[in-house]
């Protein structure tokens, strides 16, 4: 084998782009080429591989500068189309956060939609107030603006482009609504996010070519990586990016407001990175397939930071439409759009081919060390296990009289019905007993509730107490995974604790 030059530089590639000679493939095309012709040929033939992703990226937003009003105002609070926008700086600089919700249409319209409307050229209503100073005397403001009226309109996203993400399921008995969308009970569906083999960071997992100053496709326009994103966690393949770009030149197709029922609003962001194929190693890395990218199946019904991981699946399985968890076949949907991710990579390819997009060399590479730490908490929060007390129980063969007597002697309002193994069968309340007396019922079976709302010992107290309020009940038997009764949590336990401590 002849020893040829095994590297090329970004400047050499740019020279080819200017001449219209650069060979550009999308990540999907590159994988096919490496598969059919091998890494060596792929390196020789290809200068740039374009990647793409299009997903809900909550930690996104835009900085805008309004210019000064007359008389001038130092904005204290402001709303755009009834979405509160914050003022992180001086008088007329505002930040539109994607997840802030409209006060009039919460959970339906939010900051992401305001950004999309502005990008689309629509007029947006701005309301603001201020306390008034000698230099900024104005205290009220109402006006309509479009992107053309703004001095700056910069997309500034502090965490985008997760390298990969969890697959979400729900093992509980009730439907839950999360940022991973609607999760049906008993694992009747699963959701996942991320473009897998098309994802920008997955195609350069050692961040050889990506860092501060990398020019990228952002929201249909050009933007830049400005550093690692928040929660960047490269050690476990969960890298993220912080990016910025001129939103005035972006398009609403690649920046779309989104609404997740009972979670809130967000924004879908189209982001693509060109990977210069500087060496054979990069040619090999950009050949990564969905079958080589794995993620955890996580149970989102557990309201804790460390949710149980039930299984590991590949993006190939995820994109096939169904996965198998604990021998159960589960249908799975994508939350991010593979179709749009592909469109991002194709658009970026066409920009490079027509010479309108040149590559940059990062001035500082993304960190490859470090993990995302959990929060330091100096105040303990209560969990069910620390507040529950032992339950007064009965079995199904007992008479109502005996149960009524036990309620009096133990002074409780709830008796938990168990079987001989100590497993939950039902619950009887003092109200049920009173009703039995009034209606002349004698058998426990006539008054016992079988469909019992329960709590788990490791749930935060706040979650259990919210469940009591939702179902309008005053106690929850606490059970383990085998339905064995561990104790009971009553509304009195909760209010006693609340009276003693600051609310959380």
């Amino acid at each position: 084998m002849s020893k040829q030059v095994k590297t090329r530089t970004v400047e050499e590639i740019n020279e080819k782009i200017r001449k219209g000679d650069a060979q550009v493939l999308t990540a999907e095309e590159m994988k096919k080429l490496v598969e059919s012709s091998g890494v060596e040929v792929a390196f020789k033939e290809v200068d740039v591989v374009t990647t793409g992703t299009f997903g809900a990226m909550c930690s996104s937003g835009a900085v805008i500068n309004l210019g000064h009003s007359d008389p001038p105002i130092k904005i204290d609070h402001a709303w755009m189309n009834d979405v509160e926008v914050c003022h992180p700086g001086a008088a007329v600089d505002l930040y539109i956060g994607a997840t802030n919700m409209s006060v009039k249409h919460p959970f339906e319209y939010g900051g992401g939609h305001v950004i999309q409307d502005l990008v689309a050229g629509k007029e947006v209503e701005l309301r603001a107030n201020a306390y008034g100073t000698d230099c900024y005397p104005r205290t009220q403001l109402k006006t309509n603006i479009t992107k053309d009226d703004l001095n700056q309109f910069q997309l500034l996203n502090f965490r985008n482009c997760y390298q990969r993400y969890n697959c979400a399921v729900n093992t509980s008995e009730e439907t839950i609504y999360t940022y991973m969308s609607k999760l049906l009970p008993r694992m009747r569906n699963a959701t996942f996010s991320g473009a897998g083999e098309l994802n920008p960071l997955m195609n350069d997992p050692d961040y050889e070519t990506i860092g501060m100053g990398t020019r990228i496709f952002l929201g249909g326009g050009q933007g830049y990586v400005i550093g690692e994103g928040t929660q960047h966690s490269p050690k476990n393949l969960n890298g993220t990016l912080m990016v910025k770009g001129d939103a005035k030149k972006m398009t609403p197709e690649f920046l779309q407001g989104a609404a997740f029922t009972k979670y809130g609003t967000s924004m879908y962001v189209g982001l693509g990175i060109p990977i210069p194929i500087l060496n054979e190693g990069l040619a090999e890395k950009t050949a990564i397939r969905d079958s080589e990218i794995f993620t955890d199946v996580v149970d989102y019904s557990v309201p804790r930071r460390d949710r149980p991981k039930l299984s590991k699946v590949s993006y190939k399985e995820l994109k096939s439409g169904s996965i198998v968890v604990n021998d159960k076949k589960i249908r799975v949907s994508s939350l991010s759009s593979i179709k749009m991710a592909r469109k991002v990579s194709q658009t970026l390819k066409s920009w490079i081919e027509d010479g309108s997009f040149l590559l940059t060399q990062p001035v500082e590479r993304l960190p490859t060390e470090g993990v995302f730490k959990p929060m330091r908490q100096t105040e303990e929060i209560p969990f069910v296990v620390s507040v529950m007390h032992s339950a007064i129980t009965c079995t199904e063969d007992e008479k109502i009289n005996a149960i009524a007597e036990r309620m009096i002697t133990k002074s409780v309002n709830h008796i938990v019905v168990i079987d001989t193994a100590g497993k939950l069968r039902g619950i009887v309340t003092s109200w049920d007993v009173t009703r039995a007396m009034a209606e002349g019922k004698k058998a426990l079976a006539d008054i016992e509730t079988h469909n019992v709302v329960t709590a788990k010992p490791d749930e935060p107290l706040e979650v259990a107490s919210k469940r009591m309020a939702q179902h309008n009940i005053s106690a929850l038997p606490v059970i383990d995974v085998e339905k064995k009764v561990l104790g009971i949590l009553t509304s009195e336990d909760v209010s006693k604790l609340l009276g003693r401590e600051k609310p959380w």
């Binding site: 969308s181 609607k182 989104a258 439409g321 994508s334 939350l335 759009s337 179709k339």
Partner: protein
């Protein structure tokens, strides 16, 4: 075709109402979904447009409650093919095509009797809409 939601009471369940109507009026009635037990139940049925009025009247004459469920409509301008709805659909009316486009099949959809996908759409592209055909005649003669 028009979809009808038929509700049967406990007393009506043992009677062969649906088959009587099929035989008497010689209309094909397709049963798309049925949740019926001895205590009563619901059937989602489909009938040809031209037979809709007489079929609705025939069921109502026999005391069966008939409503015309709304249809689900997808705004293709708003849909960006994420696929959030796909795994939720119980009748596989939403599918991902080879090019990753999310495709909605109105013919298979159960309409507002299901609606499981509506609140799962982050683009808010899925809506319940009234069936246009024959809507007035079925609702006007209650």
């Amino acid at each position: 075709m028009v979809r009808l939601l038929l509700r049967f009471t406990e007393e009506q369940v043992p009677q062969p109402i649906t088959s009587e109507i099929i035989l008497e009026y010689k209309v094909p009635i397709a049963i798309l979904v049925a949740h019926v037990n001895s205590k009563g139940g619901e059937i989602l049925a489909e009938v040809p447009d031209e037979a809709q009025e007489k079929v609705v009247q025939a069921f109502r004459k026999r005391g069966v409650s008939v409503t015309i469920p709304k249809l689900i409509e997808v705004d293709s301008e708003k849909c960006f093919s994420c696929g959030s709805c796909v795994a939720l659909c119980p009748v596989e009316a939403i599918k991902v095509e080879r090019d990753s486009t999310v495709k909605f099949d109105k013919e298979k959809c159960l309409g507002s009797t299901c609606s499981i996908c509506v609140d799962a759409c982050p683009a808010r592209a899925i809506k319940s809409v009234k069936q246009t055909n024959g809507d007035q005649s079925a609702h006007g003669k209650k």
